[in-house]
Amino acid sequence: MSDSVDLRAIEHFLYDEANLLDNPDLDRWIELYSEDGSYWMPVIPNQPDPLNHVSIFYDDRVMMEVRRRNFVHPRAASKDHSVRASHIIGNVRCSGRNQQGDLVVTSNFQCVLYYRREQRLYAGTYLHHLIATDNSFKIRHKKVQLINCDAPHKSLTIYL
């Protein structure tokens, strides 16, 4: 790890992000992303890219903007059932900077999610590309690699 990275600050940032998804507040969550930010959930392990292979999620800011409006729309029947989640993040590591100069941060997560009268468990690894700002970070890219990415999935109406 090069130029003095404050791992505690990174950890706190990841906790704050997860908190905005626990009791979903997508308006504030989106503000954590840069204008060219993206959110990716591949459907296979080691998926090389999101464009030449299908994914569970691959949202840029445009789709995030549509999604946050849809999420609270009174006529979205699948949202009649609220989502409650509880994220635990651990094993946070920073492996340095990528070519763009973003901090490359990996972590493990578990998320228990309650939706449609049923409790589910998701687990996997996060990869964050973070842009350091004056006193915090912006997310340029977040990849959510589920350990059961290639299993059949039920409806997922919220980012993990």
Binding site: F57, N70, D80, K154, S155
Partner: protein, 454 residues
């Protein structure tokens, strides 16, 4: 007496089964009765041609892909040494162990994990370890019973189907006029062929498999069910400054999913024998996609301008090959139905590359598959919410009937097909005529859809 869902009720007889389907209404037990589900698996999924996979999934000798024909019967799609593609029962000829338990891969031969019986990729028995023990026992290793058993299979332009029936008509006859949509899908490739590309999405649906099928040409739901995402996209577009053209172009993919009743009415529905049908043809919600210039150039080089125009003008929305496969030729993806239980099925979405077309065409197909068909999309979950609520609502004893009257008596009977308005229930009537014929074991005679009782 009509059968209702009650575990203590006696086995359902053919007369009671027939009474469940009336010309304009269906008895609720077809969606919620476990006994009827088992009969469907035997009589519909056990007789019809079921989609297994595409030949491009098994390109080389020994490539295999495994799936199920109905909720139980496991099969292997495999290419043998000579290049022939087979559908084999996934069951060891010795004591019945499932031979292959991975989804796909490549094998020079299939070796059973239990006692090591080994089979060639065409299913023939290759070797039994310590075979001497069978000498003088009456066991004949040459008996074809000791091979992996073949499932009757056939393919149409690379799409492989299999059937557990010896008597159903040949695949070509079974597809009938509905094969024109397969032709259109393949003709959209400058080289006239498509191949599976970009992976598969598997979406668990907690509902009866038929609810998914009935939604394909249900053109009365989009403006209601998908109202929220359409408004969300339109609200966002309204915030964009004039120069944000790329953002606008991206968000504009969504509003067609809430197209107007008039728009859908014009697209029409066409029904065929064996329960197949499609909506669209002259126009559909996919009709106004802009054509990639490099793709157009490749098409014109292959087909000439006039034929290219004809191919792209045939614009269907969803086509159903009852009961297992639905395709979107204009988008180049398919969805495959895999029933699990009376209230559970898996919907698989596969995407296709148009051979000879630029890579952007596949990327567009994959974008569509993700935005519309992913379990995390903003479209699919609202559809599934409706199916799940039907599954729950039909437990009500308030009424025994589900209705399908729209445009009844207005359908037009042509030589090999029935045509009607785009918001007609012609699609449901087509499906349930096939349902009734399969369930009455009359698979040799399944009429064209429509409102005639025959």
């Amino acid at each position: 007496m009509i059968h209702t869902f009650d575990p203590t009720s006696p086995p359902i007889d053919d007369a009671a089964l027939a009474a469940l389907i009336q010309p304009t209404k269906l008895h609720r037990s077809v969606y919620i009765d476990e006994q009827i589900f088992e009969l469907e698996m035997a009589r519909i999924w056990g007789q019809a041609w079921i989609f297994i996979g595409h030949e491009s999934q098994v390109k080389n000798h020994g490539d295999f892909y495994t799936t199920h024909i109905n909720h139980r019967v496991p099969v292997i799609l495999v290419r043998d040494r000579s290049g022939a593609v087979h559908v084999l029962h996934n069951r060891c000829a010795h004591k019945g162990a499932k031979l292959v338990d991975t989804v796909d891969g490549n094998a020079r031969a299939f070796r059973c994990c239990y006692h090591g019986w080994t089979f060639n990729t065409d299913g023939t028995l290759l070797k039994i370890p310590n075979e001497a023990g069978y000498e003088g026992t009456g066991f004949d290793p040459k008996d074809p019973q000791n091979n992996l058993q073949k499932v009757r299979s056939a393919s149409y332009r690379g799409f492989v189907f299999a059937t557990l029936s010896d008597t159903i008509v040949e695949l070509n006859e079974w597809l009938g006029g509905a094969a024109e949509v397969f032709d259109n899908l393949c003709d959209r490739a400058p080289e006239g062929e498509v191949e599976v590309a970009g992976g598969v999405l598997r979406y668990q649906h907690d509902c009866n498999w038929k609810l998914f099928l009935e939604n394909l040409n249900d053109t009365m739901h989009p403006m209601v069910t998908h109202q929220s995402v359409v408004q969300a996209a339109e609200d966002y577009i309204a915030t964009l400054p004039p120069e944000a053209s790329s953002q606008r172009a991206e968000a504009e993919i969504i509003p067609p999913f809430g197209a107007s009743y008039e728009n859908f009415e014009d697209s029409g529905i066409t029904g065929f024998a064996y329960g197949h049908h499609y909506d669209g043809g002259k126009t559909s919600i996919h009709a106004n996609y802009s054509v990639n210039p490099d793709y157009w150039a490749a098409m014109v080089a292959s087909y000439g301008e006039q034929r290219s125009r004809e191919i792209l003008a045939f614009n269907t929305h969803n086509t159903l090959y009852y009961p297992s496969l639905t395709i979107k030729s204009a988008v180049q993806n398919i969805r495959v139905v895999r029933p699990i239980a009376v209230d559970k099925c898996i919907i698989e979405t596969w995407s296709f590359r148009l051979k000879g077309a630029p890579d952007e065409m596949l990327q567009r197909t994959l974008l569509y598959s993700r935005l519309i068909n992913s379990s995390a999309s903003m479209v699919g979950p609202d559809d599934l919410e409706a199916y799940s609520r039907i599954q729950d609502g039909l437990q009500s004893t308030g009424s025994d009937w589900v209705e399908m009257h729209r445009h009844y008596n207005r359908d037009k009977q042509l030589a090999d097909r029935t045509v009607g308005g785009g918001t007609s229930d012609l699609d449901m009537r087509t499906q349930y005529q096939a349902w009734q014929a399969y369930m009455g074991k009359l698979a040799h005679h399944i009429p064209t859809g429509g409102d005639s009782d025959e």
